[in-house]
């Protein structure tokens, strides 16, 4: 294993937003772990590139969105980003006519349901890892989400 190979692994981890990587072969054991992956607040290691559309469209109309998307990096680290653990369809409420589980400005408690992601007709309730205020909802109801895609930004209480 050489330096180039490790660099490639690091790039792959970044690309797929992996928090940990382990490789064992030929008496070499490599374990890479992104700092901050062990606790609730995960901040992106780098700000999103300016030329890419931010997943929260303007129609989401959140006053707090700029803080997460375009604010100074220092502010970014304050937010806990809730990401999708699976590929599926994002639902903000328990049923079509119901009130969303969590709206921008809501104060949520650890363990509270934030949304449901449905995959293979398995309804996955995604729970808050921390107490805090919902500042951004990145995805619209009924839309598809990818593994690791950002769902919510929460400012820890």
């Amino acid at each position: 294993m050489d330096f180039d190979e490790i660099t490639r692994i690091l790039e792959m981890m970044r690309e797929h937003e992996l928090s940990e990587f382990e490789l064992e072969r030929d008496n070499v054991k490599l374990r890479l772990r992104k700092q901050g992956s062990g606790h609730g607040t995960v901040a992106p290691a780098y700000p999103p590139p300016a030329h890419l559309p931010v997943p929260a469209p303007a129609s989401a109309g959140t006053a707090a969105a700029p803080a997460a998307a375009a604010g100074p990096p220092g502010e970014d680290t304050e937010l806990a980003i809730v990401k999708s653990p699976i590929v599926g369809t994002f639902y903000r409420a328990s049923e079509p006519a119901a009130k969303p589980f969590a709206e921008v400005g809501d104060v949520v408690k650890k363990g509270q349901v934030l949304c449901i992601i449905e995959a293979m007709k398995l309804m996955n309730e995604i729970n808050a890892e921390i107490d805090g205020e919902v500042v951004t909802v990145y995805v619209e109801n009924g839309h598809a989400v990818q593994f690791g895609e950002r769902l919510f930004a929460i400012r820890p209480a």
Binding site: P85, E95, M120, L122, N127, A128
Partner: protein, 264 residues
């Protein structure tokens, strides 16, 4: 208020006879004559640390649910409503609902001798009428902590709400004779233990194979998938190795893993 009661003898005896095929299932079982929702009760038990295989069963549910808040009519004595606590390894999660459909179909056939059809991923039909349904709900904090796998089987004809009466059927309506509910519970759980075991042991291909045989009546038929944006029409061709529904459309083949699929 939900008050659990002693397990009726017909259930206890059937479960005891099937004990060597149940694996971890029904080592703990909580039984209700009437409960709001077996899935909600099982989730509360799971939150409290209940072991994998814990079962909640009832004769009636006052707030039986399907997906997205739809009502699952659960009148007293007309059905069997069962939920189980699972703590699956990540690899076994995606195929869980496929395995659940297979298990209910196998359990019904073993207990009542009725051959049923599956519609992706796990609706159980006799011809055009729905006999049983599955509601699988997971709770995740970063990773999935537990899955509640619930199923409801219509056992006796009942006064269903008019909007579903024409689309629902029951075991006794199909067979014209009484059905042993204890045996039905035991056989469904034994089948679930077997198919869940297949997934845990990396034999998803076996589960897919059995599912295909039992879904033969619905494969090859026209479906409409409520894709984000505009719906897409096509033909339900098959499932792939992950359990995703493969739909052939004019524009090519798509792989459906979530969202609503309507059989036309």
């Amino acid at each position: 208020m939900n008050l659990s009661q002693p397990l009726p003898p017909e259930f206890g005896e059937a479960l005891a006879r099937a004990a060597d095929r149940l694996g971890a299932f029904a080592r703990e079982i909580v039984w209700y004559a009437d409960v709001s929702s077996t899935n909600d009760e099982a989730a509360a038990l799971a939150e409290g640390g209940a072991a994998e295989g814990t079962v909640v069963a009832a004769y009636a549910q006052s707030a039986g649910r399907g997906r997205q808040g739809r009502v699952w009519a659960s009148p007293a004595g007309a059905g069997l409503y069962v939920s189980t606590v699972l703590r699956p390894p990540p690899d076994a999660v995606s195929m869980l609902t496929i395995a659940a459909g297979v298990a209910v179909a196998e359990g019904v056939q073993a207990a009542a001798g009725l051959r049923v059809d599956l519609k992706w991923p796990n609706d159980v039909y006799v011809g055009p009428r729905k006999l049983a349904g599955v509601l699988a709900e997971a709770s995740a904090v970063r990773d999935i902590q537990y899955v509640i796998l619930g199923f409801g089987i219509n056992v006796m004809p009942a006064a269903y709400p008019p909007e579903i009466a024409a689309r629902a059927t029951s075991l006794e309506a199909e067979l014209g004779r009484p059905v042993d509910r204890g045996l039905l519970l035991a056989e469904c759980l034994a089948a679930l233990a077997r198919r869940y075991g297949d997934l845990r042991d990396g034999r998803g291909d076996v589960v897919c194979g059995v599912w295909r045989m039992r879904a033969a009546a619905s494969l090859g038929r026209r479906v409409r998938w409520a894709a984000p944006g505009a719906p897409i029409d096509g033909t339900a061709d098959d499932i792939d190795a992950t359990g995703a529904l493969i739909v052939r459309t004019d524009a090519g083949t798509i792989r459906v893993t979530s969202g609503e699929v309507v059989w036309m």
